[in-house]
């Protein structure tokens, strides 16, 4: 259970996600989607309950969990005075990943041209969103937590994002995806989970070819 003020933001959530799954978390505003993703990252306080992420107890070993996850939230988590390249290099190296991962992420997101040396504070909102996604990619996470990932991206960026999600799942990573863009997100998902009032109220296996873990 996670508390938001005096009221439980999450209650009675029982969710088991396997490697290689892409789970779409859907629900209306305030349903608890963002809190669920933040809880998986160890950013939301637990009142009670248990959570194991990637084999680590989230209460006892948050640091081990966090080294293996990538969270794309509503904020971009960028340092405005650092260039795109500096931001991504810091993201990669803080996850213990070689700095070459930052260069690969920049190339994949189309940031390796003139944007590479531009301070993040001078980018447009859409470009910042793209850099934030690249920061997640550069960490090479085993668990991807994507909160409204399509928001703010242009058509090309959305297509790249979809490819990245599918590639991550094919490589054995787990993806939790909270989105209001249900058509687009459902096309990526192997399973949907519906939330309301901080609880999981429904789930559905998407009838399509499963993504096999490599």
């Amino acid at each position: 259970m996670s508390l938001l003020g005096r009221f439980p933001a999450l209650a009675g959530v029982d969710l088991d996600v396997a490697a290689g799954e892409v789970v779409l978390v859907q629900g209306s505003n305030g349903a608890g989607k963002t809190t669920l993703l933040r809880a998986c990252a160890g950013l939301a306080a637990f009142g009670s309950g248990e959570a194991e992420v990637l084999g680590h107890d989230l209460r006892k070993d948050r640091r081990a969990v966090r080294r293996c996850i990538g969270l794309l939230g509503h904020a971009t988590f960028l340092y405005d005075d650092l260039t795109v390249a500096d931001n991504l290099t810091f993201a990669a190296r803080s996850a213990g990943v070689d700095r070459s991962a930052a260069a690969e992420a920049m190339a994949r997101l189309g940031l390796d041209g003139r944007l590479r040396d531009v301070p993040a504070g001078k980018l447009s909102a859409g470009q910042r969103r793209r850099v934030a996604l690249a920061a997640v990619v550069s960490r090479r996470p085993d668990l991807w937590l994507l909160d409204e990932p399509h928001a703010g991206l242009d058509a090309a960026g959305r297509n790249v994002l979809d490819e990245i999600v599918l590639d991550a799942a094919r490589a054995g990573a787990t993806v939790l995806l909270a989105s209001h863009e249900l058509d687009r997100a459902a096309a990526l998902a192997t399973r949907t989970v519906t939330m309301a009032g901080g609880q999981v109220t429904g789930g559905l296996l998407v009838p399509r070819e499963p993504i096999h873990v490599a």
């Binding site: 160890g42 950013l43 966090r66 939230g73 988590f77 340092y79 500096d86 810091f90 190296r93 803080s94």
Partner: protein, 222 residues
């Protein structure tokens, strides 16, 4: 821990180098304080020379506060503090990195201020070993204590006004000991200064140890 510290220190120093806040705002502010003190205490060179060490360290404290606040402001933009939590970096490493970056900025500031004190206050530098050890211990102490209280205040809406209220009383022993040690060095009576230098090293050790142990949990709560 040391790898994480180097990573965070490098990031913070790169942010400062790019933003140029230190060069364009903190250093001019520090020099301005020295000049204002010179006006306030009249142009009597003997008085200025006598109170020079105290004024030097008061200026370092005020300017250091700006550097400490700046160190946490960069983590509050666009929820970057969440990014620091999510990074998976060791809390002790983050503390050492942030304190190290603040200490590096303070060291540069102290060199500039020392030149300012020599020129404006007509202070003649003696006892270089004691002066260097005093600056080293005081700088580490100010940076470590400031970083600890910086993260305590970081999550609060009143952080900008609260930080000086929290930090300045804590740094009072550093101000006193550093001023006395410098006075003894400049007066050519080092025997009077060594107890104060030892006090500075004890203070620095306490706050570095406390920061290494407590910064991680404090960051989670900020």
């Amino acid at each position: 821990m040391w790898r994480d510290a180097a990573l965070v220190a490098g990031k913070d120093l790169r942010v400062e180098a790019r933003s140029r806040v230190g060069v364009n705002q903190v250093v001019p502010f520090a020099l301005l304080v020295l000049v204002v003190f010179a006006f306030a205490l009249d142009s009597d060179r003997d008085t200025l020379s006598a109170v020079g060490p105290g004024l030097f360290w008061v200026t370092v404290m005020f300017s250091g506060l700006l550097a400490i606040q700046r160190s946490f402001v960069i983590e509050s933009d666009d929820d970057a503090r969440d990014a620091l939590r999510l990074s998976g970096l060791d809390g002790a490493g983050i503390f050492l990195g942030k304190a190290g970056a603040v200490a590096a900025q303070l060291a540069v500031l102290e060199v500039v201020l020392a030149l300012g004190v020599v020129v404006l206050y007509d202070v003649h530098l003696h006892g270089p070993v004691m002066l260097l050890l005093t600056c080293l211990a005081a700088t580490v102490g100010v940076a470590a204590a400031g970083t600890v209280y910086g993260i305590i205040a970081a999550g609060l809406r009143v952080r900008d006004t609260l930080l000086p209220l929290l930090v300045l009383p804590v740094l009072a022993p550093v101000l006193l000991a550093a001023a006395r040690a410098c006075e003894a060095a400049l007066a050519g009576t080092p025997a009077d200064g060594w107890p104060w230098v030892r006090l500075l090293f004890v203070f620095a050790t306490i706050y570095v140890t406390f920061g290494v142990v407590a910064f991680g949990p404090l960051l989670e709560e900020a």
